[in-house]
């Protein structure tokens, strides 16, 4: 199972943006994430988080305004430790 830090690194790697304490709380729009990148992110998360139901990942992504919120929701679903 991924750690939360590893998950955050994977998210920022995919959206091609530097990761730091400030950027992890920026909105997806501020990070330049559009519908295409969001879908690529979803596909990637489904790929790496085998333990979590795909619908849970989709809901977590749709409901989260920032990467930090997303990581917290995925941790709540048991996707990270």
């Amino acid at each position: 199972m991924l750690t939360r830090d590893h998950l955050m690194e994977a998210i920022f790697d995919l959206i091609d943006h530097p990761l730091d304490d400030r950027t992890r709380t920026l909105s997806w729009t501020e990070l330049g994430v559009d519908s295409v990148t969001a879908t690529e992110l979803l596909i990637h998360l489904e790929d790496v988080l085998h333990e979590v139901d795909a619908r849970g990942i989709e809901a977590a992504l749709s409901l989260s305004a920032t990467p930090d919120e997303l990581a917290a929701r995925l941790a709540g679903l048991g996707g990270t430790r």
């Binding site: 596909i43 989709e58 992504l61 749709s62």
Partner: protein
């Protein structure tokens, strides 16, 4: 006899309208109200074919099918909730092109459903018709929502400068193109991740005219 399929043939063999998250299904008479309400809603009308006008229901039905090669209602796979409409229109078989348009409800999950619906529809179009490329026109107003796909999923082939009036100024219109060859390479990679796994058990019950559109979706193939 061995049978060797090209990439196009392999993709055609995977042809489905049933994705993990969205399903494309033929339009039924009961869908017109949903499509009319969606296309004339204040947040959408300026960027779809109605462009601020409110056609009468009979005129709307005629407009909806004018020049259309094929179109489907987009439903959410989980519960059959209608999400939007995806269409191919103005087919030009001499030059092997067609235009694609999509109309989607504003929703938190809308961005992902839009992507999924377009991927399923592109595969459907390239499998069924001998098309070289598929065009889409989009306004500068909404292009930021999928700008990162330029050069990867589609090419921006033209700009109509200050083409369209909205909100006190003129906005550019972009002509996008999905080329068969580059699309097929992408579809080969994307389809397995977006398509629903085959179901086991009995086929889904077909919806009757007295049920709400929120019942379970069905396979259209």
């Amino acid at each position: 006899m061995t049978r060797e399929l090209s990439r196009s043939g392999l993709l055609a063999e995977q042809l489905t309208l049933h994705g993990k998250r969205v399903v494309l299904r033929p339009i039924e008479p009961g869908d017109y109200d949903f499509i009319l309400n969606l296309s004339t809603s204040s947040r959408i009308t300026y960027r779809w074919r109605t462009r601020g006008t409110t056609p009468s229901p009979p005129d709307f039905q005629v407009m909806l099918w004018r020049g259309v090669l094929c179109q489907f209602l987009i439903e959410r796979a989980g519960d059959g909730e209608p999400l939007g409409l995806i269409s191919a229109y103005n087919a030009d078989f001499r030059n092997q092109t067609v235009y694609l348009a999509i109309l989607m409800r504003d929703h938190r999950g809308g961005a992902i459903w839009t992507f999924d619906a377009i991927v399923l529809f592109l595969n459907y179009l390239f499998a069924n018709f001998n098309l070289r490329k598929i065009y889409a026109e989009t306004s500068e107003l909404s292009s930021w929502t999928f700008a990162s796909g330029a050069g990867r999923y589609f090419e921006v082939e033209g700009t109509l400068r200050e083409h369209e009036y909205y909100g006190g100024r003129y906005w550019d219109t972009y002509v996008l193109a999905f080329w068969r060859e580059s699309c097929e390479a992408l579809l080969e990679k994307l389809l397995p991740t977006l398509v629903a796994t085959p179901r086991t058990g009995p086929p889904p019950r077909r919806r009757t005219g007295t049920e709400s559109p929120g019942t379970a979706p069905r396979d259209t193939e």
